[in-house]
């Protein structure tokens, strides 16, 4: 094992800017699984600014385990074959700030852990990317034991737990600023 001691200083990030639309989104980027895949769900929501207005030029990425909690090591995200689960997806929001991924509910990556989807937010006007977690709402005990969630006051904690809709879809809105601002994360070494 190697001790992780940071020796180099990280290069700064910068905003994605307005003109990535012809460069970064790709065909089926938002389809981690095909819509006909058994157990497929829609994960969707809206990205809003400090006035509650939709942000129409935001790009999102998700990275998650499969339904059994396994982390994919498969390549091929950029050339989806509708069969390989790579665990990663990218989508540009639409003109009203709404996004949709087709994916599966991730399983717990370890016994008793609360399953979550990792989300990264990019936008014009946002000078560096933001990270957050989308927790599945079902396993109350695992959620109660989660170290991140239990370190947050209730009104902040709520912003990280997706809502399960009647048809099984997941709803997760992202509020960059203002009332019910989403909790965004920083990691050691950042």
């Amino acid at each position: 094992m190697t001790e992780a001691t940071t020796k180099l200083v990280a290069t700064p990030g910068q905003t994605i800017g307005p003109f990535y639309g012809y460069a970064l989104p790709f065909e089926k980027g938002h389809e981690l699984v095909h819509r006909a895949h058994p157990g497929s769900i829609r994960l969707h929501g809206v990205v809003t600014d400090g006035h509650g207005e939709p942000i129409p030029d935001s790009m999102l990425e998700i990275w998650q385990a499969d339904e059994h909690g396994k982390i994919s090591r498969q390549d091929g995200s950029l050339v989806r074959d509708d069969h390989t689960f790579t665990g990663w997806g990218r989508v540009a929001v639409d003109n009203v700030g709404h996004y949709t991924f087709t994916t599966v509910n991730p399983g717990p990556t370890e016994e008793g852990k609360a399953p979550f989807i990792l989300l990264t937010v990019f936008a014009r006007g946002l000078l560096n990317r933001l990270f957050t977690r989308i927790y599945l709402p079902e396993d109350a005990e695992a959620l109660a034991n989660d170290p991140l969630l239990s370190s947050l006051p209730e009104e902040r904690r709520r912003t990280l737990i997706a809502e399960r809709e009647a048809n099984g879809d997941l709803r997760f809105d992202i509020r960059l600023q203002g009332d019910n601002e989403t909790v965004f994360l920083s990691y050691p070494g950042a």
Partner: protein, 275 residues
Amino acid sequence: MSAETQAESFENSHVLDPAATADSQETINKEIGDIHAAYRQGVEAGGSEETQPRIDFAPYRSSLLRHPTKDLHHVDPETIELWSPAFGHRDVHALESDLTIQHNGEPIGERIIVQGKVLDGDGRPVRGQLVEIWQANAAGRYVHKRDQHPAPIDPNFTGVGRCITGDDGSYKFTTIKPAPYPWKNHHNAWRPAHIHFSLFGTDFTQRMITQMYFPGDPLFSLDPIYQSITDQKARDRLVATYDHSITSHEWNTGYNWDIVLTGSNRTWMEDEDAE
């Protein structure tokens, strides 16, 4: 408002940014100068040096309503966060790293090679990972329907490239030197010439998007996006180095730019290091 005008206003919002102002460059410069002076005072008083842009940076007007006001919540990464998606040559063809051969003719402009290495915070090469770039052409125009800058589109240049890093973390793109272009942040606002870079590490927590600049650009001091990084040493890390050994006889000029991602939080096993 009819649905049609609604749609139109969203379309135009990218051009006529609601955050766009008639402020002068002098006003923007003063704001940047005040923030930087306060930062330097803080460092002299023993405060820590900043290495990343401020996300709350008012001179960049679009950031006003688009930054979280609460502190980022510190968390120890778990499982999925300690891994990144895998990319390979199934995803990216080798020719995608040459932005000058995507059409029938030669693009207009100064042909350049930009190369360097992607490293993690411990200096380990980031191997076999995806690097994506996009940029304006030699006239400062993007191939994007919302870029309304009246500079010519080059039918032989799209401005999008991808590659997979080598075993030593290296990447290399052949492209055209982009030009500066005007934008709507304030009156007579111009961006320094830049290439956008999108990067992945070994951990998803290292995911980043940034911009590479060219040495000696006269627009640096005027640009609130570049100046959102308050520390000069940190700003310098976004500027490529002209490298005559990358320049080739009667063909291209060359730049080197190494990229360091934040530290990996994974517990590295011997076999991964030796992989």
